[in-house]
Amino acid sequence: MTAVADAPAPLGKALGKPILEVKEISLTFGGVTALDNVSFVIREHEIRAIIGPNGAGKSSMLNVINGFYQPQSGSITYKGVTRSRMRPYVSAAQGIARTFQNIALFRGMTTLDNIMTGRLLKMRRGLLWQALHWGPARTEELEHREFVEHVIDFLEIQAIRKTPVGTLPYGLQKRVELGRALAAEPDLLLLDEPMAGMNVEEKEDMCRFILDVNEEFGTTIALIEHDMRVVMDISDHVAVLDYGRKIADGTPDEVRNNQDVIDAYLGVVHDTDKAG
């Protein structure tokens, strides 16, 4: 297969320049060290996985990246600007969108309205204009609605467009949450356990969507995941955390064969190395 010239790098091909670099990040909560001197780089257009056993600091890392937690030391370089910490509204305004481990949707609102909230930072007209829903505000809302309809089409959730999300099955709620993140047209998409609690079919669907987002829009994706098989199948690079420390970083194959990872994460079942 030959790639189209202007297409973003397909999987396994050379990736772009670093979009985000975390350097020597340490984060403690009282006496508990959540992250200990962790550094890694996320390159443009890649799917970067962060894995590790329970309590390894994976979610803390995402929360540091999008500014929800303040690290005690270290720096974050995003799009060439180095900061000692991110702030949530800065990260959102600069193109970082995320989903949550425990779905955080507006349960009483419809799928459509939930995804529309993802457009919030793109709205130019103020509250009053929007309340009047007239003239330029109306035109603007129609544009946003059109974008949201493309997201709905992309995620194949037309049938639940007008359904309150609280009544949807878990797997679909996860998909709506991904939709809301996509509506923000992110440059960097953070996914916190996108496949937790899903059945095999739902997981496969979600993998397909993650790969499609990456391939169609060139969105850089950082994801945290428990399911090893999923991570190894779809990621370009994998960082492994254990007790807040980074113990490995590399391609799925490198990580799979790393003795520290096998001991810390996979246990000591050495002969299933290649099973993934």
């Binding site: 297969m1 790639a3 189209v4 397909p10 709905i152 194949e156 049938a159 499609d212 391939e215 169609e216």
Partner: protein
């Protein structure tokens, strides 16, 4: 809405009809599709423009007169136009079932010798690439070009033989500009006797057969029946049944192109019911299964409604059942009942039909299998002019249809215009009509088996005419068997009686050359699930619910009711169902147990579950079974189960002797 435009389009081929419609009613809508949440529409003039670009594009890409164009995808305007575009340049469209797995498609693609394939999206492209690999390994010639409509996910496919539909049309427009006379000249070469389309019948046995239908077959049949039912260009319909099915071809292309009515395509298969509600079709076709599903939904929702609403629903539905069909057929009804019905229309019937999207329906058909009398009466009592028809791919659908005002639940109506029907000496229904197909593609032996030299088609159905000249179909002629005591055994008739209960979604009855009739049952997960919920029965899966003793009791009661009903008829009293079991899995087309049109493949099921059939006749109270199941992604797994077997109450035969089957 503008007045009724009843002028029929002129022409003996689809491209000619399209040109005629563009001239007659160029500004009226021809097609609609919901995309990105909005209904997009195309007028007849725009449709002609799209078809012209497609036809020129296909010709420029090398599709020649007589070539086959495979079409695979959901109902999309572009795919309908591709069919007409292929016909315009003398090629033959071959629509295929879009949910078929690659292996099934491979047979049809190879058999039809399709050179080009027009598909909807990446999913279908991937199947075709898989097939291409198989064909190349086997040394068979494969298709030369794949054209895809949706660009999504396609950017990393670099194969030179693939092209997007947009690019093909752009090339077509350029070709058209260079050769402006090409399209009209090609269209003029076509005529009524040309092969219009090849439709592969899913078939309950053996490989699918390619039914070749001419322009005349479809257009004359469509025109005759559209005239009879008064269809006109202000009618609206929704195309949501597979494009590979003959009915969709006759309704969405045949009748639309002859009368000029607008066809709307749903957004996705999951949104069909919402889309129907938004369009509000005036002409609607659905197989009994869909009417049944809609009714089940209504009943489930009503059970959750407040007491007053339930009481009103029951009161007015009882009234509607009593007088609704008579009012619809214009028979005399007392003034009091009329007033009650009018009130019911305001309070119940109108809002209900509106919720379902059926407010504007003038004409609705159902066919394919027997419809439950309860279901049929429900819709008719609400004022929907629902009628039954009888037809098949080999007859371009219409063989018989119920005329307005002469609708009965247990017949399929009178011969359609131009159709001659006879019952031959063995009881089989045979007919001759303008719709009788040309032949099966590359299968003269099969053609000779069903079509006589003077054009009579043997349906394989057993039936007879009733006193009013209505045709009544009992079963497939070959399926009508007898029990060991000689009693008539019509399995489909029994299965339909069982399936009329909302709790039973599928049934397979055995009994030919046996002492008594026994049954496999599939429960309806939604209906039984809701019933179980009300009784506080917990279950984790279909399988658990199916094994629940109280569900067995529920089904036992329903079978006993069927038996009581059978006992009233001297022909059928002997075929009461003695024993049954509830299967641990739903019968599925992916496992080969149903056809793609969801009919039971009886002999296959009998073979696959042979140990269960043996157990049903052995007197055992349970049976173990291990079956292979195919998941939606094509992987296979096995399922083990220990099924309970139960007996159902039967009624002793009345004094009259059971009728023996004439040999």
């Amino acid at each position: 809405m503008s007045g009724r435009g009843t002028t029929l389009a002129e022409g003996d081929s689809f491209p000619k009809l399209l040109i005629s419609n563009a001239a007659l009613r160029g500004a009226r809508p021809a097609m609609r599709e919901k995309e990105f949440g909005i209904w997009q529409s195309w007028t007849w003039a725009e449709a002609l423009d799209e078809v012209r670009a497609l036809a020129c594009g296909l010709a420029a890409a090398g599709l020649k007169r007589g070539d086959k164009l495979a079409i695979i995808g959901d109902n999309r305007p572009q795919l309908y136009w591709s069919m007409v575009a292929a016909q315009a340049i003398g090629a033959v469209p071959v629509p295929m079932y879009q949910d078929s797995i690659a292996k099934e498609l491979a047979f049809v693609l190879t058999h039809a010798e399709a050179r080009f394939a027009m598909v909807e999206d990446q999913e279908q492209v991937d199947k075709l690439l898989e097939i291409r690999e198989i064909q190349e390994k086997a040394g068979e010639s494969s298709f030369e070009k794949i054209i895809y409509k949706d660009q999504r996910g396609m950017r990393n496919y670099g194969e030179s033989f693939m092209e997007s539909l947009a690019d093909l049309q752009a090339a077509g427009r350029a070709y058209d500009a260079e050769h402006p006379e090409f399209f009209d000249a090609e269209v003029a070469k076509g005529n009524g006797s040309d092969l219009a389309i090849m439709l592969y019948t899913s078939g309950t046995t053996g490989n699918p057969k390619g039914v070749m239908l001419s322009n005349d077959n479809i257009i004359i049949t469509a025109r005759n029946t559209a005239e009879l039912d008064g269809l006109c260009d202000s009618d609206e319909t929704v195309a949501y049944l597979p494009m590979a099915w003959v009915g969709d071809n006759v309704f969405s292309l045949g009748q639309s192109y002859t009368t000029g009515f607008c066809v709307s395509c749903p957004e996705s298969t999951a949104t069909v019911m919402f889309d129907i509600r938004e369009i509000g079709p005036t002409f609607f076709f659905a197989p009994p299964r869909i009417f049944e599903n809609i009714l089940t939904q209504v009943m489930i929702r009503m059970e959750d409604a407040s007491y007053i609403k339930r009481w009103m629903f029951k009161f007015f539905m009882d009234l509607a059942r009593r007088v609704g069909p008579s009012i619809l057929d214009g028979r005399p009804v007392s003034a009091l009942d009329r007033a009650g019905y009018a009130l019911g229309r305001v309070l119940i019937y109108g809002p209900l039909m509106n919720t379902l999207g059926f407010s504007r329906i003038r004409l609705a058909y159902t066919a394919g299998e027997a419809i439950g009398p309860d279901i049929f009466d429900f819709y008719r009592s609400l004022g929907m002019n629902l009628k039954q028809l009888y037809g098949m791919t080999e007859g371009a659908v219409f063989v018989t249809a119920q005329p307005d005002g002469e609708v009965k639940t247990d017949t399929v109506g009178k011969p359609s215009p131009g159709v001659d029907i006879k019952i031959d000496e063995s009881g089989e229904v045979i007919f001759r009509s303008p719709g009788v197909f040309l032949e099966y593609y590359k299968n003269p032996q099969a053609t000779a088996g069903v079509k006589t030299a003077d054009g009579w088609y043997h349906t394989g159905d057993a039936g007879f005419f009733d006193a009013d000249g209505h045709l009544k179909i009992i079963d497939r002629a070959k399926d009508v068997g007898k029990l060991n005591d000689g009693t008539l055994f019509a399995p489909k008739y029994l299965e339909n009686k069982l399936k009329f209960f909302p709790h039973i979604s599928e049934a397979v009855v055995f009994g030919d050359q046996r002492d008594e009739a026994v049954a496999f049952i599939n429960i309806d997960l939604e209906a039984v699930g809701s019933w179980a919920e009300r009784l506080g029965i917990t279950y984790g899966s279909y399988r658990e619910l199916a094994a629940e003793p109280r569900v067995y009791d529920l089904i036992k009661g329903e079978i006993a009711e069927v038996n009581r009903d059978l006992a009233k008829d001297a022909h059928l009293v002997g075929s009461q169902i003695h024993r049954f079991l509830i299967l641990h899995k739903e019968l599925d087309a992916d496992d080969g147990e149903l056809t793609r049109t969801r009919k039971v493949r009886r002999s296959f099921v009998a073979e696959k579950y042979e140990s269960l059939v043996v157990a049903l006749y052995s007197g055992a109270d349970h049976a173990e079974i291990e079956t292979e199941v195919t998941y939606e992604d094509g992987r296979k797994g096995t399922m083990k189960a220990d099924l309970a077997i139960a007996s159902a109450a039967t009624v002793t035969a009345p004094a009259t002797a059971p009728m023996k089957l004439a040999s």
